[in-house]
């Protein structure tokens, strides 16, 4: 929540661009990112068609990591969180964290509910 007071002071540099820093990446970065995303996607789908891999213990973690990776890349570069005011980072990661924890907790609770006291 609390972002650094340094920023809170300086007034609008450029009201129109919302004072956001102009040095966004350009085409050169964007197409590379696109390629990476595509490659990862192909990798995921490819993995899906290897029965032995699907059966193996690494399958699920791998897919989760891969999609997590895509998630981060898009957020960092296409949503240029990497270059923007760190306030935005706080506004996004805070809720994202709570959301993730809540989701995990829910799955845990519904997975756990078979273990109950008493017989059966």
């Amino acid at each position: 929540m609390a972002h650094d007071p340094a920023h809170t002071e300086h007034a609008a540099a450029d009201a129109h661009a919302g004072g956001e820093d102009q040095h966004h990446p350009g085409w050169s970065t964007y197409w590379k990112v696109a390629v990476i995303l595509t490659v990862i996607t192909i990798w995921e789908v490819w993995a899906y068609y290897i029965p032995s891999l699907v059966a193996s213990r690494i399958f699920v973690p791998m897919l989760l990591i891969l999609s997590g990776l895509k998630f981060v890349i898009v957020v960092m570069f296409y949503m240029h969180l990497k270059y923007d005011h760190k306030l935005f980072r706080a506004l996004f990661t805070g809720p994202l964290l709570i959301a993730a924890l809540t989701g995990i907790a829910l799955l845990f609770l519904f997975g756990q509910l078979v273990a109950r006291f008493g017989p059966g």
Binding site: G18, V75, L91
Partner: protein, 216 residues
């Protein structure tokens, strides 16, 4: 579009609308985590088929294949990813409207209309895929009310689809403005906000594609 408080003093120097959209996106995280969690909680709890990844034969002997169609969905996923690329290019084009365009490449990259069109069309294509998917599921006997899987699947992906639809409408509105008076650096923020929303819808799909379609 109007610029609320844009030319007033702001503490951070940032435009209020951009702060608002990020807060909105944060809130959307909770929305989609609830939907996704529900889908996962109900996974494998349906009493009757059809099922996402397993085949099923109904008591009256009708046979159902695993219902999810990975190739099609992979394609639509790719389409949505590409729409994000188009979106960032559209934003860049708007921001650099006034920069001189020397090469033909510059002109192509510099055309906000082209890239906005691209984004909207790719988004529409994605929706097309989804419409196809939904109808074929219904034909194969999976509806909202067939089983827990049907309910949670259609609601989750439907919510995402609704977000994409809203995004497409938003983009078309921007295009309308672009045609009426042209979008320039002054509008960069409006486009930026639309873009943030669009990319977020994209990352949500990235997660859905993995946990719903690929992981069995």
């Amino acid at each position: 579009m109007s610029a609320p408080a844009a030319h007033h003093y702001t503490t951070t120097g940032l435009d209020s609308r951009k702060i608002a959209i990020w807060a909105f996106i944060g809130s959307e995280c909770m929305l989609f985590i609830s939907l996704i969690s529900t889908y996962l909680i109900y996974k494998g709890r349906s009493i009757v088929g059809p099922f996402p990844h397993e085949e099923w034969t109904s008591p009256d002997g009708r046979h159902f294949e695993p219902i999810l169609d990975i190739p099609i969905t992979s394609a639509s996923t790719f389409v949505l990813l590409m729409s994000s690329l188009a979106m960032v290019l559209a934003l860049a084009a708007v921001q650099n409207k006034n920069l001189p365009k020397r090469t033909r490449g510059d002109r192509i990259l510099g055309s906000s209309k082209l890239w906005l069109w691209m984004t909207a069309l790719l988004g529409a294509t994605f929706l097309g895929f989804q419409a196809y998917e939904f109808t074929s599921f219904v034909h194969e006997g999976l509806t909202l009310s067939t089983n827990l899987f049907g309910s949670s699947f259609f609601t989750l992906t439907g919510f995402h689809g609704a977000h994409v639809t809203a995004g497409v409408i938003w983009l078309v509105s921007l295009l309308a403005i672009d045609y009426r008076r042209g979008l320039g650096p002054a509008d960069a923020l409006n486009v930026d906000i639309a873009a943030l929303y669009w990319h977020f819808v994209d990352v949500v799909w990235i997660v859905i594609f993995t946990v719903v379609y690929l992981i069995e």
